[in-house]
């Protein structure tokens, strides 16, 4: 064996050792959460075994934690609320932003450039603490502690980036098809709806995923806007649960797992779109 080969094997070993060590650090806390969610309270207090029991005995692990979490600890309600906020929020973000982005890309109207740059400016300038005036605004509109109030905040938060991304996408599309349709007598709205929107599917897919993650994981606005447990999304519900049953770790971990599973599934299926969205957001900005 020559020295180059030895050096190569050595480098490769070191590389993979580092990468595997970091990967284990990433996965372990998530594994620990799931494992703990299937233990009993006394197992949490007395043993630190990696698994809740022997692997062959998997059916006898404490699965009832999940039933308790869903039914008695309100996680079913929180989960449904989160699904509702995410689906409705993302739908309106896409609808409203694609209409505006199409207009910014193709149509003429007064104040077009000014409006677009105003929108982009709010993306670039860091503005912390807007939740204070938002709270007062919702209070004045009698939208405090309502689903509508929280949704309006979520939708509005997602618009600027979505318009920015979609306008860029529409700008790249060839205009010929649309001009032909216009001569054939199609309305502007018809062209947007039947031609431009279907063509923008890749960009829309990225936006759906990104905004779903954002809304599902959002906490601060849910904290400021909502007091009523029946309307809370799951992130807010987790904190309420944790505040009430501080030491009920198995049930808390079951709640955390319920809040995490949809995100992880979407992430594993849609990875490419997420990575594309992150890269687009960062490298263009």
């Amino acid at each position: 064996m020559n020295i180059f080969k030895i050096k190569k094997i050595l480098t490769s070993t070191v590389t993979h050792t580092i990468l595997i060590a970091v990967a284990l650090t990433c996965v372990f806390p998530v594994f620990w959460m799931i494992s703990s969610s299937l233990k009993t309270q006394s197992q949490i207090f007395s043993s630190m075994s990696l698994l809740p029991g022997p692997l062959l005995d998997i059916l006898n692990w404490n699965w009832s934690n999940y039933i308790t979490a869903f039914v008695k600890a309100d996680f079913g309600q929180y989960f449904f609320n989160s699904v509702f906020y995410t689906v409705v929020g993302v739908f309106f973000i896409i609808l409203i932003s694609s209409l505006a982005a199409y207009a910014f890309s193709r149509l003429e109207f007064r104040g077009k450039n000014f409006l677009f740059y105003l929108l982009i400016a709010t993306l670039l300038i860091p503005i912390p603490g807007v939740f204070v005036p938002l709270y007062l605004l919702l209070k004045n509109l009698s939208l405090l502690d309502t689903r509508t109030g929280l949704l309006l905040c979520y939708i509005s938060n997602g618009l600027a980036f979505a318009i920015f991304l979609l306008k860029g996408f529409f700008d790249e599309l060839p205009r010929e098809i649309e001009e032909a349709a216009l001569i054939d007598g199609a309305s502007r709205f018809g062209i947007y709806w039947r031609i431009a929107l279907p063509l923008a599917k890749p960009a829309i897919a990225t936006l759906v995923i990104m905004n779903s993650l954002t809304i599902w994981n959002e906490f601060l606005l849910a904290l400021v806007v909502l007091q009523d447990k029946a309307k809370m999304p799951i992130q807010r519900g987790l904190m309420v649960f944790q505040g009430t049953y501080i030491t009920d770790y198995p049930l808390l971990m079951a709640g955390l797992t319920i809040a995490t599973i949809p995100i992880v599934i979407v992430y594993l299926l849609m990875q490419k779109h997420i990575v594309k969205g992150i890269a687009a957001g960062a490298l263009k900005g």
Binding site: F109, G129, L152, A259
Partner: protein, 296 residues
């Protein structure tokens, strides 16, 4: 094609929904922040008391707790800029060398960033727990018996550092993904040419990778600064600012003042904090431009 005024009006309808929402729920709150910051107001009284810049003055000169929170966020940010981004860069360089399992590593490293701050905070709070946490169990089992019931998050010495570790755990994958995307835009031909000229891998890194990566590293740094300074979910779920204010950060401070009904004061704090963020971002852009010129 000539556009009639009527058509222009029709075109405008496309942006009306976005415009209305944006004006009411994004722009108006931003402007309102500035307006409220010169009033003393509890959010309920009919009359708001105009106090000019008095609240700003108080924040700047008489509120050490706020500056303490700023320093805490600063410490988290500096740790993230160095350790977290250093790790992200190292991993991106390792993964980009066409190694086996690139996709698996990429998938795993980006898992923490997609989890919510609350979920991550609560998992780690459990891991750090003095009595039932696996961290102390592990440390005891390898011989550090004095950690048997050490409460990481309630001890002044370790609370902030522990939160920072979790923040970096959650964040490094984000920088990793962006840096990896940046590395893959560097043309392979450059390295091939360097190879032909006899440049070793350190020289290749110093003369090709590093200079071409500066703009992307700047973006990652700015995102890290903005994200770390505005940390909230992790703090709220792990310590709520405790013990005795040792992990308070600006956003938890603003939230605290708002919860106590000091609406004017909390918005003045938000403006001061926003200005600090703006200055840091500009300084960062300026520094990286300078670095860029010096390299040419």
């Amino acid at each position: 094609m000539k556009i009639t005024p009527k058509e222009k009006l029709g075109n405008f309808i496309f942006v009306i929904p976005a415009l209305v929402l944006f004006l009411i729920f994004s722009l108006y709150p931003i402007l309102r922040t500035f307006e409220l910051s010169v009033f003393q107001w509890n959010g309920i009284d009919k009359n708001m008391l105009f106090v000019g810049f008095a609240q700003y003055k108080h924040i700047l000169f008489n509120n050490p707790a706020f500056w303490k929170s700023m320093a805490n966020a600063g410490i988290i940010t500096v740790l993230a800029l160095t350790l977290q981004n250093g790790l992200a860069l190292l991993l991106a360089l390792l993964v980009t060398k066409n190694i086996r399992g690139e996709n698996i590593y990429r998938t795993i490293f980006f898992l923490p960033p997609v989890l919510s701050g609350i979920v991550v905070g609560l998992i780690w709070k459990f891991v750090f727990d003095g009595n039932f946490g696996i961290l102390n169990h592990f440390l005891t089992s390898i011989g550090f018996s004095n950690f048997a019931d050490y409460a990481w998050l309630s001890e002044v010495r370790t609370a902030l550092f522990s939160v920072a570790v979790v923040h970096m755990w959650k964040g490094f994958g984000y920088g990793f993904i962006i840096l990896l995307a940046g590395l893959q835009t560097i043309p392979v031909e450059l390295y091939e040419a360097a190879e032909v000229d006899g440049a070793d891998s350190w020289q290749q890194f110093k003369n090709i990778t590093f200079p071409l990566l500066i703009p992307i590293f700047t973006i990652v740094s700015i995102l890290t600064i903005l994200g770390s300074m505005q940390i909230f979910d992790l703090i709220y779920s792990m310590t709520r600012g405790g013990p005795a204010g040792h992990t308070h950060v600006p956003i938890t401070k603003i939230y605290e003042y708002m919860s106590n009904g000091e609406f004017g004061y909390s918005t003045a704090m938000a403006v001061v904090f926003g200005m600090v963020l703006l200055i840091i971002s500009f300084a960062q852009i300026y520094a990286s431009k300078k670095l860029n010129y010096n390299n040419r």
